[in-house]
């Protein structure tokens, strides 16, 4: 099926849930990513039970903690 991931069309296996998509899409640190599906931010506990469908718009939003301070 085709999904729009971060604005780009991506072909991906049918029937994946959000957790499987994170693996399939090589998201290396899923704990640093928030997932938005069709405009709604998902809570982590629904990743497993949320199936993706043809044409879904997915955004991986990355935690970015730096501010250029001392760190």
């Amino acid at each position: 099926m085709k999904l729009i991931i971060n604005g780009e069309e991506v072909s991906i296996k049918d029937g994946l849930n959000v957790n499987q998509l994170l693996v399939e899409h090589n998201v290396k640190m899923p704990e640093m990513v928030s997932v938005e599906l069709n405009g709604q931010i998902l809570r982590r506990h629904v990743y497993e039970t949320t199936q993706l469908n043809e044409g879904d718009k997915v955004e991986f939003l990355y935690f970015m903690g730096g501010g250029g301070g001392a760190e």
């Binding site: 971060n6 604005g7 640190m29 704990e31 640093m32 928030s34 938005e36 405009g39 709604q40 931010i41 809570r43 982590r44 955004e59 939003l61 990355y62 935690f63 970015m64 903690g65 730096g66 501010g67 250029g68 301070g69 001392a70 760190e71």
Partner: protein, 270 residues
């Protein structure tokens, strides 16, 4: 407050803009912006807001200038190494524009002190470098109903969003809670292209000025992401999250608290 001859000259390029004018410039001079973190993001934000003529700037930072800061924290200069960042920044602001009153807070923002400071300002800029502070600023601005600009930078990437508490999506709507510390790469571990701070911090200053003047469309309900390598700016549309623990209808967070690092996760260590 009428503008002096000198001020009319100093701000002439603003005053000539229909959307700003003398009235807008007077508004800016009467405005107060708080910058939390006088580092990478806070440096360009402070420099531009000072040049702009925002009348009062508050600076919170408990750190001293370090040699490793100078690659990106352009408000601090080589002779400032070892001095408190708020003092170094205050001196530069005074040199740029004597119209600006600077209030310095040489302390670390905490749940105990931040709300009372935020309350005194019209707009807040998050220029901090850690998730605990970022969530704290988001929450303090919610409880005080103050608009603010969130931003983060790492490696070649930056992001920002403007939050109007109660009206637009907040940081917790998107990110819920800080990530586990083990997963967090900091700028010192991961590196950051220095100029990223200038790009993103300047955008934060732009949002502050737009808010103060009531101009244009703020970066609300949109997370702007910037990739310096591809030169792509993307604005990801967002909505307020009805499950948000802070600003949702069933909010679990009812008072300002410091984020404690989550309990140690022993998985993978055994």
């Amino acid at each position: 407050m009428a503008l002096s001859e000198q001020q009319i000259e100093r701000y002439s390029r603003h005053i000539i803009l229909d959307q700003v004018g003398g009235i807008g410039q007077e508004k800016l001079l009467a405005s107060k912006v708080l910058i939390v973190g006088a580092g990478g993001l806070g440096a360009p934000a402070a420099l531009y807001l000072a040049a702009t003529g925002v009348g009062t700037l508050g600076l919170i930072d408990d750190d001293n200038v370090d040699l490793t800061n100078l690659q990106r924290q352009v408000i601090h200069h080589t002779p400032d190494v070892g001095t408190p960042k708020v003092d170094s920044a205050k001196a530069k602001i005074a040199a740029i524009n004597p119209d600006v009153r600077v209030k310095t807070y040489p302390l670390r923002a905490t749940a105990a002190n931040l709300a009372a400071i935020v309350r005194q300002y019209d707009f807040v800029i998050d220029g901090t470098d850690n998730f605990g502070s970022k969530f704290l600023i988001n929450d303090a601005c919610w409880f005080e109903r103050k608009p603010y600009s969130h931003a983060g930078i790492l490696r070649f990437h930056g992001q920002l969003i403007t939050v109007l508490p109660g009206e637009s999506a907040c940081y917790r709507c998107i990110f819920h809670e800080p990530p586990p510390p083990s997963a967090v790469p900091s700028c010192s571990q991961a590196g950051v292209l220095g100029v990223l701070a200038g790009v993103i911090g300047s955008l934060q200053a732009t949002e502050a000025i737009k808010y103060l003047l009531g101009l244009g469309d703020l970066l609300t309900n949109r997370l702007l992401t910037y990739d310096a390598l591809t030169m792509d700016f993307r604005a990801v549309k967002l909505n307020r999250n009805p499950d948000c623990a802070l600003c949702g209808p069933d909010a679990a967070i009812t008072e300002l608290a410091d984020e404690r690092p989550p309990a140690c996760d022993l998985k993978g260590q055994l």
